[in-house]
């Protein structure tokens, strides 16, 4: 493996890690604060990707498509919380799993009903379409770099939100201190709705910006959901920091797995997860149960 | 009180400690419990008494110090292995299987001592287990409530069932976390009487708030405050201890 090839793969791994972080942070946030395990989280990633593709087809502009699909997904997330997830707070995880499993079936089928079974590509917007040459034979696409920086920007915003705002303070305190949440003047129902909306927005936004590199296809949410579970399990459920580290571990392990072990690529990240669990059953940054 | 000819240490802790997120719930606790004696642990709420019991039973792992039982170092052993050594415990908050009958609760406890896994013989067919369960119920005065669902028993009966479950495992050392908590005077007297009978054949470590009960049954008393041992000694010694009077007993008996 040449140095530049190694560099490219590392960049790819980190970029994939950033993308996973966006999805997984939403998942871990919703679980950490609301105590809800949401299998439909990946489906929102798919919804984001499809909306971005569809709006881009209609308007001819990727930027416009992003601006249009983001509020739609946020509204969808808020509505899902209000009319579905809200009934699950007091329920056992088993029922949360099944309920959100039903939600996946519905969202997947609606996608097929509205957009069909085809795989769609989304052209990379013109200003970001080129590549930066690294050596004579190898180059790195600008869009992937843009993708990474976008994710970094979102991650930084998330960090500031959690470290610097009153909402963030509540989020850090977690669901175990409900009295404190009320004492700070937050309406729990409103807070949960916002958090869920935020989680959905993060997943959907990841789907949108990934669409030009990863294409848009039916069932795309399933894969990202399970990988996000792996990320969250490695990092420790409820920990944003853990989600970040886990996402990087998974992104890099997966990318190099594909390069080094073509026939066993899908297995690598799960093997990494199993190893982490044997060492620390509660994940890298999880609280001991 | 008749002293046994030779005193023999059953349970011993050395400098036992446990931190919860930097806060010491139990600190430097060194205890010696002798065979056949009743060792009461008293102290105000938050003194770390229940944490101490949890450290002895293996429900919690100590952050510092050692626990020895019958000359063996059992520091950090998991709860089930500690239990299998013959250390039984009861809980402050009633901890029974509410959907099971009294008998089923005790049978579940008794069968924990089956030497091998039993997958194919019906539970009801293990004679020795069922006898042991029935015996424990009888000891605790619950023989007539045998087939009553635990959830529909009175609070006092549930407390007795809690003890019966512990006894059904056939322990030699009993760790009792407030066995009289929340009981009316009549129930309390009955359970105290039971404890006295048990004291004849068991070594006991007992947390209790009811001072009359403690002074009437204990051979040894350890007073804990803020996670540490303030004083340890016979009831007479404790009664006479100035520090204890100031810190704890004083509140109740200002003389």
């Amino acid at each position: 493996m040449s140095l530049s090839y190694f560099l490219i793969q590392t960049l790819n791994g980190v970029q994939y890690g950033f993308l996973l972080f966006l999805v997984a942070s939403g998942l871990t946030l919703v679980f950490g604060i609301m105590g809800v395990i949401n299998l439909a989280h990946g489906a929102f990633y798919m919804v984001g990707a499809y909306l971005a593709w569809w709006f881009a087809e209609q308007t001819g502009s990727f930027v416009l498509a992003l601006l249009l699909s983001l509020p739609v997904t946020v509204l969808l997330g808020l509505a899902t919380e209000r009319f579905a997830i809200r009934y699950l707070y007091a329920r056992d995880h088993l029922y949360q799993v099944l309920f959100t499993y039903g939600l996946i079936l519905i969202l997947n089928e609606l996608q097929r009903l509205l957009f069909g079974n085809d795989v769609h590509g989304l052209p990379i917007p013109a200003p970001l379409a080129g590549s930066i040459p690294l050596t004579e034979a190898q180059s790195y696409p600008i869009y992937r770099i843009f993708l990474s920086f976008t994710c970094i920007a979102v991650a930084a915003a998330l960090y500031l939100l959690i470290q610097r705002t009153r909402l963030g303070m509540v989020i850090r305190a977690g669901s175990t201190h409900r009295e404190m949440v009320s004492a700070l003047g937050f309406d729990i129902a409103r807070l949960f709705m916002v958090v869920f909306g935020l989680g959905v927005a993060l997943a959907a936004f990841a789907g949108m910006i990934a669409a030009p590199v990863n294409t848009v296809y039916p069932g795309m949410g399933d894969h990202i959901l399970i990988i996000s579970f792996v990320v969250v399990v490695i990092g420790g459920i409820g920990s944003i920091k853990g989600a970040f580290v886990g996402a990087m571990v998974v992104g890099i392990a997966d990318t190099f797995g594909r390069v080094l072990l073509p026939t066993g690529a899908g297995v690598v990240v799960y093997a990494v997860m199993a190893l982490v669990l044997l060492w620390r059953p509660q994940g890298l940054f999880g609280r001991t149960v | 009180m008749a002293e046994p000819a030779a005193r023999e240490t059953v349970l011993e802790t050395r400098k036992l400690g446990r931190l919860f997120g930097g806060l010491a719930a139990v600190q430097d606790v060194s205890l010696t419990v002798e065979r056949g004696r009743v060792h009461a642990i008293v102290g105000p709420n938050g003194a770390g008494k229940t944490t101490l019991i949890n450290l002895l039973s293996g429900d919690l792992k100590p952050s510092a110090g050692t626990v020895g039982y019958e000359g063996r170092d059992i520091t950090g052993w998991p709860a089930h292995r500690v239990a299998r050594l013959g250390i039984g415990r009861s809980y402050q908050k009633t901890n029974i299987f509410r959907d099971f009958t009294a008998f089923e609760n005790c049978r579940l406890a008794a069968q924990a001592r089956l030497p091998r896994l039993s997958l194919l013989r019906p539970a009801a067919g293990h004679r020795d287990v069922t006898e042991q369960a029935a015996h424990a119920l009888e000891l605790c005065g619950l023989a007539e409530r045998r087939d009553t669902r635990a959830a529909s028993m009175s609070y006092g009966e549930q407390r007795q069932l809690e003890l019966a479950m512990m006894l059904a495992t056939g322990p030699q050392l009993l760790l009792l976390d407030e066995p009289l908590a929340g009981m009316g005077p009549e129930e309390s007297a009955r359970v105290l009487d039971l404890l006295r009978r048990l004291a004849a054949g068991h070594t006991m470590v007992m947390i209790e708030h009811d001072m009359d009960a403690v002074f009437s049954i204990a051979d040894e008393i350890t007073v804990m405050v803020n996670g540490s041992v303030l004083a340890s000694g016979t009831p007479a010694e404790i009664r006479a201890n100035k520090a204890v009077q100031d810190a704890y007993l004083g509140e109740e008996a200002p003389e």
């Binding site: 995880h93 669990l277 | 039973s57 039993s118």
Partner: protein, 324 residues
């Protein structure tokens, strides 16, 4: 301890008689279809041991089912082995070993971690087969032959005969029901129920809780392997979907629909679920949409499943009789 409501036992006996005589007059399509339902009933029953009794919500149970399918496919297609005397032990053994390995890692955790980890580890098995191009990759592969049962030149059992196969599936279902009933009545079974109710208390009583959970996990995985063996023989087709998490979610849904913590629940659940799916599939290509709504309705309205309804009916009936 769990007790089966009397009305359920009556229904069960009636159902068993019906299933035993059905091939005498039933038409071919339904003989095949019910055989398939019984395979899923067996599969769901094995999961119920974990979810309904041991309190272990596994979202990766299809791994053992699908692994058994692939073991049969591999031995038949790649090694030319068709004897059921080899295929069955191999399928069960592989499922048991996989369950021991996955269980060993996942029982270290509880609650939502356990759900995610069983899902992820099962997905690892999924990708393993998904990535094998010579095994058909995503599309899966046909299994060249059904198992054979020969004693010298004598054919003892014909997997191609749909009525014989029907009775084999019924026999396996009944055998699993009896086996699990015996296990659940044993100290081991009572221990599982105790662990589900209060794990900490069981530890304090001296139970090595992890060991019990692992054994339950292996028993359940092995029975799922038996269902997988039957499915391979029935469908003569192996696809990664057999191992996928949609299948795991599906079988979990069957357990809940029927009523977890009862052995007859999963059987009822399998019948209702598969008949419904079959019916909706004739109505629309997008039948999964209807199933999605159905799943949500069951979670909201029937958390105890059909068994819960029967229990309530039974209680009402008894009260009515008492009044009269």
């Amino acid at each position: 301890m769990p007790h089966h409501p009397r009305i359920a036992l009556a229904l069960l006996a009636l159902g068993a008689v019906f299933l035993a005589v059905f091939p005498l007059w039933g038409d071919t399509f339904y003989i095949r279809f019910i055989a398939r339902i019984m395979i899923f009933a067996l599969f769901a029953m094995s999961l119920d041991l974990l979810v309904g009794y041991a309190g272990l919500v596994s979202l990766g149970h299809a791994a053992f089912f699908g692994l058994a399918v692939y073991v049969v496919a591999g031995l038949v297609n790649k090694a030319g082995v068709t004897s059921a005397f080899v295929l069955l032990p191999a399928a069960l053994g592989a499922a048991a070993i996989a369950a021991a390995a996955i269980g060993w890692i996942s029982i270290r955790t509880t609650g939502v971690y356990f759900i995610m980890i069983t899902l992820a580890l099962a997905q690892m098995v999924y990708y393993f087969f998904h990535d094998q191009k010579e095994w058909g990759g995503t599309d899966g592969m046909n299994i060249d032959s059904k198992p054979t049962v020969m004693l010298g030149d004598l054919k003892l059992f014909d997997f191609y005969d749909r009525v014989q196969f029907y009775y084999l599936a019924l026999g396996c279902l009944v055998a699993a029901f009896v086996l699990l009933t015996v296990i659940l009545r044993s100290p081991f079974g009572h221990t599982l129920v105790g662990i589900r109710a209060n794990e900490g208390r069981m530890r304090a009583l001296g139970y090595d809780v992890q060991r019990y959970k692992l054994i339950a996990f292996v028993i359940a995985g092995t029975l799922a392997g038996l269902a997988g063996f039957l499915e391979a023989a029935r469908a003569t087709f192996a696809t990664p979907a057999h191992l996928g998490w949609h299948e795991s979610g599906h079988v979990l849904m069957i357990v809940i629909l029927g009523g977890m913590g009862t052995l007859f629940g999963p059987i009822l659940g399998a019948f209702v679920m598969l008949l419904m799916e079959d019916y909706f599939a004739t109505l629309t290509e997008r039948w999964l949409l209807i199933m999605g709504v159905f799943v949500i309705l069951v979670v909201m309205l029937l958390p105890d499943g059909i068994a819960g309804v029967l229990r309530r009916v039974g209680r009402l009936g008894r009260r009515g009789a008492g009044d009269g």
